[in-house]
Symmetry: C2
Subunit: 344 residues, 2 copies
Amino acid sequence: MGVAATTKIVPPGLTPAAAKDALSQLVDLVYDDLQDCNRAIVARMDSPVALIPQLAAHIVAAGGKRLRPLLTLACARMVGYRGARHVQLATCVEFIHTATLLHDDVVDESLLRRGLASANAIFGNKASVLVGDFLFARAFQLMVEDGSLKVLEILSRASATIAEGEVLQLVTQNDLTTTEDRYLDVLRGKTAALFAAACQVGGVVAECPAEIETALSNYGMNLGIAFQLVDDALDYVADQAKLGKTVGDDFREGKITLPVLRAYQNGSEAERAFWRRTIEESEQTDADLDEALRLIAAHDTITATLDCAQAFASAAKQDLATLPASPIRDCLLAVADYTVRRAN
Amino acid sequence: MGVAATTKIVPPGLTPAAAKDALSQLVDLVYDDLQDCNRAIVARMDSPVALIPQLAAHIVAAGGKRLRPLLTLACARMVGYRGARHVQLATCVEFIHTATLLHDDVVDESLLRRGLASANAIFGNKASVLVGDFLFARAFQLMVEDGSLKVLEILSRASATIAEGEVLQLVTQNDLTTTEDRYLDVLRGKTAALFAAACQVGGVVAECPAEIETALSNYGMNLGIAFQLVDDALDYVADQAKLGKTVGDDFREGKITLPVLRAYQNGSEAERAFWRRTIEESEQTDADLDEALRLIAAHDTITATLDCAQAFASAAKQDLATLPASPIRDCLLAVADYTVRRAN
């Protein structure tokens, strides 16, 4: 984990309420662009094959946070872009994200336990995979329309990195010997690579200097890691129904995340036996989730995970430090803190 | 089906043995290119995540016919290309095809009956989907390296069309009211679009005139439709173990193909009830495949399907008629016939 793991939470400069506002503030700052992007999302996921927009609408138009396209829109405007290309490229970013979500929800034969009405639960695995493929291909069509080989390079590389991260996650599943470095590689791939690309593309359309482009990419990467660490913490925090997540999904799937890794590493021999049975051997009873939550609380590994997330959020803020102050820049700084604060 | 359905088989100008040689002859004509392409396939599917080349090797390096990349290589050389870009683009075409195969094998919960050791049977649905995503993304990275927006346009459009065709196939599954036009739309999408793109890209790297590019694309489209029609016929032809296919896969999945559609349309009321039970309601016993084969033989719908395939093969040959005669062109003409003849 290096530096990150040893860094303590930066004392919050904002109250939780103000911090919670950061994302809404960002939406306000690029409101018209986001509306255009939402319209483009609906318009461009269309197809003569009716099931495609139907299934896509279930996930893409259901109104997620649009965090990734928002980053593209905000970064472009922050560095002075005055055109409209960023709207179409933000749409590409959202389509790639949606394709990933659809493919991520594909269930293996051995893992039919999840109970949520994901697209694959309603439409079947195969339809989810194929509509994901369509959105992925459509994203590249939109990039070709835009015509920038540099954007195509950034987003095709990010797409390959996402797939690598997802496969690495599959490989580390059920494996408690996974190192924290390897776990971070999973986060960089499956989540942060697209955050980084989303931000960088905003800089590319603005034709900003190389060092600014790098700063944007680094900001996205650190923000994405912080975001996923918080997500992994929230999976073990009760009463998070408002976030649309079921507590314990990761546990049931035997996913290796920091709250579990730390609880395992710091656990007694009996506790380690518990984790080996439930995570490595996938032998779980209904009572096991409660025991897992108890051990995670006993070792305070949610706090450790959020500390780690805050270190990456602080690094993200540092990445934007050299950029001139502006409403959007200041808002992106606040968004980094908000990403961590949403767990409190 | 229009013209195609009413056209009779063109009397073969070659004996079956000579026709069978057409594909090997084509391989000989672009042998060095194909070796380069095979090397590029192995080199470029690599990843630090070891499961990716492992799973990809299972399908991509297992040595398929390489028909699609072969078309790119052959078309480029046929129209006079002297460079090496076509090798990398042929690799893209094979990666897109492989990604499609991996995703095509994803099994729905309700369809766990197939018994073949496909990648998803060995590695799981999820790994197959994710490695498919990786190969798809990698294909676009290779196109970006090549740097032609026109190639990117052709192959991103083809990729979207493939996904549309696959979804349309899913929608028409189990539906005996599917029209033959709609069935042909499925073939155009899921198979022929990539054949067309593979051929066209060969022309694009050679910077050939627009009408030649169109001729190549049309050849690929007609060849692809013929190829898939034959594939759909072979699914009901016994003793095709040598082709690596199990007889009756399509039947068990309730796929709507021409042999079944015609047998249903021409069947007695009792026969139509049989098809409705087995295909529409997916109620099948072990003896039903034999009955299906008997009805298909009684109505001679394999011949009808191959007649239709031959009409498209002939159209493919016609598409190349205006090109100057050359060893490669003549071989591509023979390949069109071979595509149909392999069923005899």
